[in-house]
Symmetry: C2
Subunit: 341 residues, 2 copies
DNA sequence: TTTAGCACTTAAAACTTATGAGTGCTAATC
DNA sequence: GATTAGCACTCATAAGTTTTAAGTGCTAAA
């Protein structure tokens, strides 16, 4: 479909534009890159590439800019990932070596590393809870009417919350409730825990049925919640397109829409997905590009968001490297309760 | 020092500028406000006010703008707080009525209410830990080598963290450690807990001295940490001065500097402090105004940050009202373990 | 097929000229 | 003496104009 020269030209334009954020003209292309033909030839090719939909022209006398389709082709078949710089490798290693207590922290470290190295904004969320299996539930009475609920999963996630109890209960009652809940929920897949299971549990114990129900309710909330961590929020200011007030504002507004971000991260597609500009399903993202990365061993999902003129190759190189580290480190089925299995 | 007319003119200029963010001229002043004199007279007065340092002139043909000193005088002696609108009163009441489980949530609710009503950015932090008295410490073994540490204070704050244990320990050992720690720390003022106390505790138990020490260490960290909550981060976009890219950027950068914000909130001055522009000690704040509000009954501290052209009267009215509600609600010495004492 | 040459396009930058809001001063008025 | 009408002056902003330069597309020659 595209001859080699067109491919080369398209690739060069995309890469130059990503680097300099300036429309690329035929003359510059010939001068800076070794293409072996004259500007006129390039112009002819560029005109064809534009007609085919791979390039856009901001206006007649500007150079060319990649279209969404142009980026798409670049990302799918022209781009190549590179080895990271030594300091980047070291930085990632160091960040991922931070002592990890709880499985959700792994993805937090990843998010931090990626945002620092790429200069983009990164959001991340821990292991998918619906795949999780409950390991243990602990109820701890604090004072006379606060209850700390801790849910542990086999994957090593620890989730806690504190609730108010509607009436005062004794340590013994709590222990009994805890025992019941533990027996019923231990080794259960989170996705299988439905309201009727909870009803069944609460039926067994009629005196404290209201307390039990509110505890179970809270447990449901806990295990189904997945917090979003945001890194490098202000990194947008490092990219010239965001000097436009409105774009910066809409970007920052998107970051605040946690629910939206949750949805966007829950893609059931490949492990690494790239959504360029208006390829994004949600219109709020149409001026940005999004790369999602599902970490191996269900460690979590990371989303990198930046301008459509994003350094896709760089981001993917980083992801690739991190993916490899994670695979080695957490090879055999995940990270459980603070140690490798 | 300032005659009544000058006061009236200064007040009117400040208020008009706060409302419209446009330099105020003599003609407009006479037209819109009932001053009873001609523009020429106003001009003479304004020239004097400028000479005295209360007004600034962006340029010859612009109107006047309050200087820091002008705002200062306004805030100190000209401004009057107003009753809130009914819907604002209702909104605050509703927000503060949210079920509160833990004492730190009160100030979070306050922060949210203030940022929603004032359209400024608000940060908040819970009760001052150094005044706190430890109520209880709970150690809960999760799996074989994760330990959940919970510290309760008499004030009703609950702080938790999970640590990795360097070696596997049994439930019994943890119980024993917990007992020792509880006895030593219960009813102790946080500010009195020093390293030597901890050393003394750990000396009593020599076998697990390293584990105990890391637990104590973590408890120290926990009780001395005070998280900052941020509300209405993107509210800055509601104020025209932040259409200037650089100002918006520096504002958002300040918000990320959590350590700086912590310092700024720890003022040991009055309960309500107003820092206008370059009155701020930290140069990062010199383009903004900051109002700090120390909630009654040591519930926490709230900081409201906005442009120097901030609606001080509005913010103070809101603070005043909230202060009154809090005083009534938590009258007798605070909020303990989920209920009023 | 490639390219030199050139007329054409156009955004952005650099000037230029209004416009108008606001001032400060002077001299007349209350 | 305080106030104000009148008016020349200032200056940022907006609007309009010209220049510049980067880039294009087309034609005809290589």
């Amino acid at each position: 479909m595209l001859n080699d020269r067109k491919k080369k030209i398209l690739q060069t334009i995309v890469e130059d534009y990503i680097e300099n954020s300036q429309p690329v003209g035929s003359k510059k292309l010939v001068e800076c890159y070794d293409l072996g033909v004259s500007p006129a030839t390039i112009r002819n090719e560029m005109a064809e590439l534009e007609e085919m939909g791979y390039l856009d022209k901001p206006h007649t006398s500007a150079g060319r800019v990649p279209s969404t389709l142009g980026y798409r082709v670049y990302v799918d078949s022209l781009m190549q990932t590179n080895d990271l710089k030594e300091e980047e490798v070291l930085f990632i290693k160091k960040t991922l070596e931070n002592e990890i207590i709880e499985v959700n922290e792994i993805v937090k470290n990843i998010g931090k590393a990626v945002s620092d190295i790429t200069d983009y904004t990164v959001f991340s969320t821990g292991p998918d809870v619906t795949d999780a299996v409950i390991e243990d539930v602990k109820l701890i009475l604090l004072g006379s009417n606060m209850l700390l609920i801790v849910v542990l999963t086999k994957e090593g996630s620890v989730k806690e919350t504190v609730i108010n109890l509607s009436k005062t209960v004794t340590e013994e009652v709590i222990q009994k409730l805890n025992e019941i809940i533990r027996i019923k929920l231990k080794d259960e897949y989170v996705k299988n825990i439905k309201i009727d299971v909870l009803k069944y549990i609460s039926n067994e114990l009629s005196v404290y049925v209201d307390i039990l129900f509110s505890i179970l309710n809270e447990i449901m909330k806990l295990i189904n919640e997945n917090d979003i961590t945001l890194d490098g929020r202000n990194n947008i200011f490092k990219h010239p397109e965001f000097k436009k007030y409105d774009l910066a504002k809409s970007f920052l507004d998107v970051l605040e829409a946690k629910q939206l971000i949750k949805e966007v991260l829950q893609v059931e597609d490949k492990d690494v997905n790239i959504y360029i500009g208006d390829e994004n399903e949600h219109s709020e993202f149409k001026d940005f590009s999004l790369i999602t990365f599902k970490c191996p061993e269900n460690l979590g999902i990371v989303g990198i968001i930046g301008p459509t003129r994003m350094d896709y190759a760089k981001v993917l190189s980083v992801i690739k490297y991190i993916n490899q580290i994670l695979k080695n480190k957490y090879k055999k089925g995940g990270y459980v309760n603070g140690e490798k299995e």
